[in-house]
Symmetry: C2
Subunit: 415 residues, 2 copies
């Protein structure tokens, strides 16, 4: 039961499932030179986020990505760079439907003997809908197995009107009776494969709906399931902005690492509380996170709290650990050194002398996709002023985590 | 001709035009407690951005905002705080159509004698579509005057399907024949007013389209005009993220202010070039911008370049000037002090001594919605290293302008 909570498909999916991702689109609508599936967030193309959304699911075996010839090299680089393991890349056809059919042919029937195991259910998705969740994929997959086909729908955002050829309104549709057809869609493999085998040139060229082909050629009427808003499609430039913010928002979990000294531990707990009030979820650990692998694996923000100015060796070790764990492979990790001094008159110059060393380490870390920043707290005997300083440090921390800006890596900020 | 370029409606709109903005919605879809029109970007509610989009247009006389009773107080505060001048606020009805009809009644017929001049054309828009542009409003207005009614349309993003009551696909619509009906819509005032006077309780309660009412009750068939992608509606939380990024993107123009010293002027021009390569448009001015009002009015980023450590009086003057010009009323202004020293071994401690003064000034400026940051460049005799330092400063500048994060105001960053 613990297992089925962590892996919801564990009990119910006892048959092979694969994914086809047509990614041949040119993204003209976006007004950008790069096709939108290859536009990057944190230097990682959108399609890698979409692949990851499927790859992390234990019951999905294979992901076939279908690309245009001119994108093949780029796609292979992406798979290599971000260590995607379940992906096979194929060349697409001259239309979306031809590309999907090419993708379906990767299973069970390839003459080169390199074919993948034929799935019972195949999920078809868009490369530019990176936020699809396991629980919804599970529903689509089970419905496809039971009904032969299934598809995500969403309520209409705008009224839909039929237009006359002269550009006037003909009639408007009654909104309640219609839905937007979205992705993912699921199919019993044999059904969608047969539908494509039978479909006409005109279907290949102008058809828009796989659901429609399954109905027309196999008599399979798809089960429609209302999906969450997260299924939205990155279409315009503003959607790319939104995707970046959604991803940043997702990376707000933090881990505070303290030394054993009582002042550090106390400051760590104040930080936890203050960051919590700013909607960050924070775990506190003492010492290093040597055997705290589960915690590290879900965290992309690390906050070292220390009163010891000679702590750079420790920070350096953390950079190494995160790098070796591959933690910054998919998202940039943020590492913040929060340094406070209990000595009332410690020399500013002395501390500033550390800046060079921090900057040097930050440049190294940046090459490993780890963004290192430092925050300096001047300890104040006055409780109220100290409270203000801690709040200020917490505000700066939240800003660094939210903006995740590589241009500020290596900077020493004063709380 | 210069006039009609700057004010495209100047020649063609010789009749009164007003706007009705229904803003009574509850924003449930967003998953937020605050109705989406009152969600803030840079501490300013979305509806203020939408009002501003109309208010800046010379040929629009009045904007009637219709709100729910519980939002009345908030709405009045917004108008006061952001100095909106053309707005009249009315209470809405129990449905969107009743609210629009309430809004229309503000013109020409109010018993209290406080009525506004009756417009020839009234534009109806959504409070949550803040990016509508003058040229498109002009097209909507002229088409409404000529045809009686007009409305924005957009291509469908998803296939629309008719569903059976059991949740199966009934049929899918042929995408080319349908359009999404969006806002704004324009009407000859008398036509839409008559349509509302005649319409039924059921229309008031369940109707969705003003265009449909004009057709049904007045026989007026609306001219449909394809609008730009910028007409999108803020519906979900991710749309609010997108709106924030679009607004930030819009604020990328910068003004570099140099002193007369040759080194400053040279650095200013390097900055202009380097920022230009990072997609920022940069003007350089020498001295202060005393009589450069047109430049100030379109700029929200100011970069002071100086070798003089005692330049804070100058920065303070700039803060005062921007505040008095109301420049930071609608968007936070960014003010960056770029300080470089030509003395090779100037004391770090001495410069750091300035940090306290900068922080103090930054806190004052922040209350005026001006975000002050400082960047320190250590001059290097080595041309290549100096080039790198300038590039680093330019990268930091771009990051500060892009993120526009108040939490980092008052910080001294080292390039
Ligand atoms: Mg489709
Ligand atoms: Mg409508």
């Amino acid at each position: 039961s613990d297992l089925s909570e962590r892996f919801p498909g564990h009990d119910s999916i006892d048959f092979p499932v694969a994914v086809v991702l047509p990614a041949g689109g040119s993204g003209e609508r976006m007004g950008l030179a790069t096709p939108k599936q290859f536009c990057t967030v944190f230097n990682r193309p959108l399609i890698s986020y979409t692949i990851q959304a499927f790859e992390r699911i234990s019951w999905i075996e294979n992901i076939v990505v279908v690309v245009a010839k001119e994108s093949l090299h780029l796609m292979m680089d992406i798979i290599h760079k971000f260590c995607h393991k379940k992906v096979k890349v194929l060349l697409g056809g001259s239309s979306r439907h031809r590309s999907i059919f090419n993708g379906l042919q990767a299973f069970g029937e390839m003459p080169d003997g390199k074919s993948l195991r034929k799935p019972k259910v195949v999920i078809i998705h868009d490369a530019v809908r990176p936020f699809v969740e396991e629980d919804f994929l599970l529903r689509i997959t089970i419905a496809a197995k039971e009904q032969g086909a299934s598809g995500a729908i969403r309520p209409l955002v705008s009224t839909v009107i039929a237009t006359t050829s002269e550009g006037y309104i003909d009639h408007s549709l009654e909104r309640a009776k219609y839905r937007a057809s979205e992705m993912p869609q699921g199919f019993v493999y044999d059904i969608i494969y047969q539908a494509y085998q039978q479909c006409s040139e005109s279907d290949f060229e102008f058809g828009t709906e796989c659901l429609h082909l399954a109905l027309q050629y196999c008599g399979t009427n798809a089960k429609l399931i209302e999906g969450p808003p997260a299924l939205w499609k990155v279409t315009y430039k503003k959607d790319l902005f939104a995707a970046e913010s959604v991803i940043k928002d997702f990376l707000s979990q933090a881990c505070v690492i303290t030394t054993v000294c009582a002042e550090s531990a106390e400051l760590a707990h104040r930080f936890q509380k203050s960051l919590g009030a700013r909607s960050m979820q924070v775990d506190v650990i003492s010492g290093s996170f040597g055997n705290n692998q589960p915690l590290v694996s879900k965290t992309w923000n690390f906050i070292h709290i220390t009163a010891n100015i000679a702590c750079l060796a420790e920070i350096s070790r953390t950079v190494k650990t995160l790098h070796e764990a591959g933690q910054a492979l998919l998202y940039p990790a943020v590492l913040i050194l929060v340094h406070f001094s209990v000595l009332p008159h410690s020399s500013l110059t002395e501390r500033m002398g550390q800046l060079g060393a921090i900057r040097h380490l930050a440049m190294e870390a940046k090459h490993r996709n780890i963004l290192l920043y430092a925050i300096l707290l001047n300890h104040n005997e006055n409780a109220e002023q100290w409270e203000e300083t801690v709040e200020s440090a917490s505000e700066i921390t939240t800003a660094l985590v939210k903006d995740r800006n590589p241009a500020l890596a290596g900077q020493l900020l004063v709380a």
